[in-house]
Amino acid sequence: MAYTVVGKSVRRVDAVAKVTGKAKYTDDFYERDMLVGKILHSPYAHAIIKSIDVSKAKALPGVEAVLTYKDLPRINYATSLPGMIGDVLDDAEDEEERIKFGTAGHPYSLDPSHRDVEDRHILAKKARFVGDAIAAVVATDELIAAKALKLIEVEYEVLEALTSTEAALKEGAPLIHEGRASNVLASGGFAIGDIEEAFKESDHIFEGEYETSIVQHCHMENQTSYAYQDMDGRIVIVTSTQIPQIVRRVVAQALGIPWGRVRVIKPYVGGGFGNKQDVAIEPLNAAMTLAVGGRPVKIELSREESMTDTRTRHAFKFKIKTGINQDGKLIGVHITAISNTGAYASHGHSIAGSAGGKFRYLYPTKALKYDPITVYTNLPVAGAMRGYGCPQIFYAFESHLEDIAKRLNIDPIEIRRKNFVEVGYVDPVSKNKVTSCSIRECIDKGKALIKWDEKKALYKEQSGHKLRGLGMACFSYASGTYPVALELAGARIVLNQDGSVQLQIGATDTGQGSDTVFGQMVAEVLGLPMDMVHVLSTQDTDISPFDTGCYASRQTYVSGMAVEKAALEVKEKILGFAASMTDIPVNRIDLVDQKIVFKHSGESVLTLEQVAMQSYYDLLRAKPITSDISNNARINAIPFGVTFAEVEVDIKTGKIEVLEIYNVHDSGTIVNPKMAEGQVQGGVSMGIGYALSEQLLFDEVTGKALNNNLLDYKLPTIMDTPDIGVAFVENHEPTGPFGVKSLGEPPTITPAPAIRNAVLDATGVSFNRLPMNPQRVFEGFKEAGLI
């Protein structure tokens, strides 16, 4: 399909603001007399607070308020006092009467069984990880606030810290959350077909175990927010978030106040990657402003806090058993997974669920059984992170499949080709249909880019201590969360007097470029140049149309549907208005190049500006042209792709160097190639870090983080990042606006298994634990007898 603006690498709508320093992020706004809020974190991974004395902290000049669990809102208390939300904070001992809430950035569900686990208080009485928020101070400046934290006297009864899923699952292990039967947060996956029968039918059975590590998002802007009460007593929170509507709801739930009494504003956001798809600091920030009579209070997390006290990526342990035929056809796959969710549920079992759900599409088999459990431990809370369970499961399965191919002496590409999904496949669990799939073409492209066959031949005979190898790995993903959750998106367009439009969306741009892509869609439908489409980048829950937010790679696809519909409605109204001005039947005119023209001849009838002016000022007919669309997407398009990697492994040092890496994506129509390429490169870079260097480390006894800073946590720098090649195989996804499918998260999924498989190719050694850092690789080579 031919488009004029969609498919072009137009300039980001916010690029100039961002290179000139004009783009305002949360921390760049000021309210007069802004107070500073700081958090006292538990030094123990598992401990009960025996007593807490804040009197010295309160007495420090400049301290405006000190909060502990004793000051939190009580269940069914605040809602009985409409309009008096200043009174929700109440000093009483009983923790159990305090409101518990969930923090995950999921849309609310009317079905109680679908809601997120509500297992935390704004401030804890029992510390469940090193970093748990125990108390908070509001002071006139940062230094006083920091000093006051030191004056809070807490007596802890230290309990055994469960720093691994094994320890948490051990018979008789202490309970991290009292009242639960065990430390298992949830379990349960799905079963397609009869797995035992499938194994019986298979020529071969293979088994493998795989493990991924805890990593962190490391968005460059830490979590930051400020909150105050406006003149009506409503709580206003300006925050760096991916999900303003959900923040609003969770804050209200955490305080036990009506949702309409909270307003959330999202300015420019300095990256989120899923960590800001969670409500980490806003409820406390709201409580802080209530504690000081509604005066503005800001919370700005430090990098160290952001790395351990917000969210991390779930570490998984997999056991996979696969039945396969001699020719490489997969018959049955049984995956068991243990997911470490840390101290609180947050996104919890959804991550394990998503992993299985998105994996299902790539290689449909006769039988697929997935048995995940999600376990609480006394480690930092795991939540959403780019790929949402998929970097974990695809690392495991694509490693496993590679080992099988090697054992069966089948080409690793061929074994995959033999098992790929076909268009028309209906997922037996979700009933969702694969409506486009170009994974085979992606492989052809990637193979050519990396010169697979030539290099494979070249590297057959290698000697010396530096060995090279090639590897690849494939993925499937989703475009949004349907049918698991609500997929509602909103877009509003207003035609201005000059013929330009404003576009408001509820979807949030956190750096990925959605504002630009939506602008392109409107420009495409209305035939406008990009500078006539003004995209409002800020989301404000009082003003912006309702949209659930930025996650699940949903926005270009799901929110794009709303944007396209809104633009089509405006176009229809423009033509309708023009028809009423000219008495030309509406079916004979069109909107082209900002002109109303005859369809048959292209002859110009009116300018768009003339129509726009009449729509505002015609004494008789004036009615400004607008549209306000809410779209509930009841569909999901499956994107696919592949990573090809070439590595050089130094046997003596255990260092893996990625020489070349290519990601080839089937994401339907690419709306903005340059931005899409940047999105893929960033995702691949994150995947390379996941493969080779990144890991949050913890003391096994105390559960204390050892490297929660950007010096000791090995985030790839520009020197560590190889050239990243990107290619797309564009097909027109029939369900997507302009034929799009998702792209945001997928690039992160397969670099790790592709690199791992390349290392296997080079050295013959399987590394089944991430990251493959030099120490682990060195140890692996020693074990394999290479050193």
């Binding site: 961002k18 290179v19 004009k22 390429e677 940047g678 960033g682 994150m686 520009i718």
Partner: protein, 174 residues
Amino acid sequence: MFKRIAFSVNGKAFNFEVDIRESLLEMLRNRLGYTGTKKGCGVGECGACSVLIDGVPFDSCIYLAVWADGKEITTIEGVASKSGELSEVQKAFVDEGAVQCGFCTPGLVLTTTALAGSGKEYTQDELKRELSGHLCRCTGYQSILKAAEKSLEGHICTCVDSPHYKQQHERNEG
């Protein structure tokens, strides 16, 4: 304790007392409103807060405000012309798609500005080393490197004779 200092930011002269504990970052952002200077870590790890001090890039978060006495400071707000025309470096960052969330962008634009103004020649590896103090989580650095190379056109060897190209070529040849 306070100390009076005199300095300039983007050509504008200032003369006032600063808390001796205050960082240059805090002074620029909180007192003077140059919020284009970003704080990503506060301890000199990420480079987001870089500014030019007498033309040299520094992490302003670990540079005390009192040290700025007598210095000329350039922040991101001072890179474009007064009439708002983007500098060549800014244009390169925009054109090459080197901007995503934008939080690392001001620091990278400033360091690249200093490199472009240095008159020195850089190989690609040297350029990477110069930029390695800036962390970015969005771009994988590819477009940033392209933008920096474009900004340094004439000062960088990207032709087939460059050491970088040769290095890549040798690798491919095995």
